[in-house]
Subunit: 450 residues, 2 copies
Amino acid sequence: MEFKISREFLSQIEQLIKENKEQELHDLLHEIHYADIAEIMEELDDYGAIYIFNTLDSEKTSEILLELDEEVRVKILRKLTPKEIAEELDELSTDDAADIIAELPQERKEQVISELEDVEHAKDIVDLLRYDEDSAGGLMGKELVKVNENWNVLTCVKEMRIQAENVSRVHSIYVVDDENRLKGRLSLKDLLTTSTKTPISEVYIPKVDSVKVDTKDVEVARIMQKYDLEAIPVVDELGRLVGRITIDDIIDVIKEEADKDYQLAAGISQDVEADDSILELTKARLPWLVLALLGGFIAVKVSGQFEGAMEEYGVLFFFTPLIAAMAGNVGVQSSAIIVQGLANNTLGGTIWQRLYKEMRLSLFNGLILSVILLLGSHFLLGVEYIIGITVAIALISVIVIASLIGTFVPITLNKYGIDPALATGPFITTSNDIFGILIYFSIAKAILGF
Amino acid sequence: MEFKISREFLSQIEQLIKENKEQELHDLLHEIHYADIAEIMEELDDYGAIYIFNTLDSEKTSEILLELDEEVRVKILRKLTPKEIAEELDELSTDDAADIIAELPQERKEQVISELEDVEHAKDIVDLLRYDEDSAGGLMGKELVKVNENWNVLTCVKEMRIQAENVSRVHSIYVVDDENRLKGRLSLKDLLTTSTKTPISEVYIPKVDSVKVDTKDVEVARIMQKYDLEAIPVVDELGRLVGRITIDDIIDVIKEEADKDYQLAAGISQDVEADDSILELTKARLPWLVLALLGGFIAVKVSGQFEGAMEEYGVLFFFTPLIAAMAGNVGVQSSAIIVQGLANNTLGGTIWQRLYKEMRLSLFNGLILSVILLLGSHFLLGVEYIIGITVAIALISVIVIASLIGTFVPITLNKYGIDPALATGPFITTSNDIFGILIYFSIAKAILGF
């Protein structure tokens, strides 16, 4: 069952810290999961968080370090000596340790690495630091079980036992040649039912999915999901086995990617949380608002070009927010469907087929909405017929064009290697506002002739 | 390495189908992963998809069924007899089989169940059909390894060997009492290093995370992620072990939840894909557009109330799209940050603290944007000073209020058990358009006195 942090429990902890009752705190927290302790520490002030960290045993503190928000982790790490940090990292798997080291300033990085006890572990961590964090190399860990194709079953079982000591969970046994090139995998069952003298080359399965070190993390996620893999081996340019990626790391990639798309659609440009500082939140939000404001200037200019309509058809200006809103909403809908299709790799057909389909869809929707507008402008708003008809015709045109822009832009961005999610949100609403108003007044001018 | 479906490969397959070369097709597809075959089938017409399905071996076809889009799966299942469907399901794990049966019409459901060969399997599937698909019960499978606390190690190992036959991957060994109540778990290592006569009750670990059958799927996902679990046992109201959930099912929950939030933010009301029919896409998109249109009517009405300004200050009407766009963008930003905070459970503090912070943030952003607007309206748009100042003051007010609405609405929805993601997208942009325009003209009226 899950543990919930109650207000009372937090007060109790704060009290114990204040009274400096280290042993009691230790006993109280002993039974609590490290993920929960991390949450408790995030609720406390800096002094309290560090106090708790120091009372706990080291197997627990290393896991806690991993779970903490980066902000709190940085504070804790600042209070530790390079030797103490190295001791924490010695408890962690290579990929987790590399992630934490990567956050340290350059100088401390080197100090910490030089203090790592286990030389093999240290070598692996240094190796992992070379890779881009958004690539398979940045995701992978070094802990894996591999055997040589030239061994026999007996040697293999002996070697595996030694290797498995460092691996918390054996997902697969990989087979390599003398040059460490990945050849295939071994089924535990086959291994156990074959005579101990049999060479591995006769029992292994020569087919195994793998990714290259420079494969993008989202691509790794897609492959592992598609083929239902719990782990995948990673090879370098020469096909040599250099690491493995497990499914739990992929969950983080999937979540981050989804969060990023969502934030772009909402006009937030970097990974922020509600609890970040006002300055950080401003940095993430203001650029999009400035963009929207500049777009608004253009919309003002465009409206100004049709000033002539004001005297006789001033009512047209009451409709500009409606037209702009419809253009924006339709554009976001169209682009969001394309962005998701691209992300999930489910988008078939050519761009022309897409645009043709979107045109039929938006014509259909536009017709229904125009009828509602005609009825509404007459019965609810009491506008003259000719104005109602003008706005309705403009509305269909605006909806069709807005949806075509919403379809075209993300597909084109994607073609040129730019994240299509950029096309959703403020970008598409702002440009569609401008086009929408321009089309609206142009059609009104053609019909009403002002 | 991943397999990519080339245009040529598809043509080759289509040709073989046309020429009725079953054996050649079988050989060609034999080496290809079921997930890839599912993709190929989705690219073919109905005849082709069913033709391929019939040429393949049954271990492969059952996995393919699972991978297919629901649309294509329904078509294939319609062509199969209840007995044939039952044969496919016999190859699948209980949770996957139950998911497929749940999609069938009631009558066929019963026919298929009566044709299932393995009675235990059938009983398990029927049991799973009882649960809500969004709950732990709907996610769980029946395949697990459990031992009785009263057994000794020897019996336990023997029983485990039998049970493990039906389980593709043993994540954990669960310990239950005579009433099947979950007591704890067993470490394989402890089991292998203990004398065979030792009772299990002396070696098992009495602590194990579990969820109830009626726990919400998103809650299960959150717990498994938080505690880094690859599997979690599920218990009923009386604490009896009824199933287990594995991490691959949780990935689907996480993706679906993220997709849903994204679609709501983009104004798409159900789970649609770019390749769905125009009617389905309309059903998902039109309701939000109608809502936006009705909101637009109100905006027209509001603008109409300030018609008096048109003669002397007509230029004010050029600014309404700008004001509406800023109100919409700010509102979506604020609500998106709250929605993500709620989804990730990282939102601390009271609603008043949130609103106070948002007010300071939006005042700060609003001030910067108003200065840009003042400069822009003078140098770029050439508007009179008094108009520029009026619009700038209105802009700050609109931004502050829009961001407060964007913060307040999702928190309040969430408090009353309504999905806060509903508050993003068209809902918040439409209501903020209306409030924005109302505030804008009211302030202009107060300053300019028309």
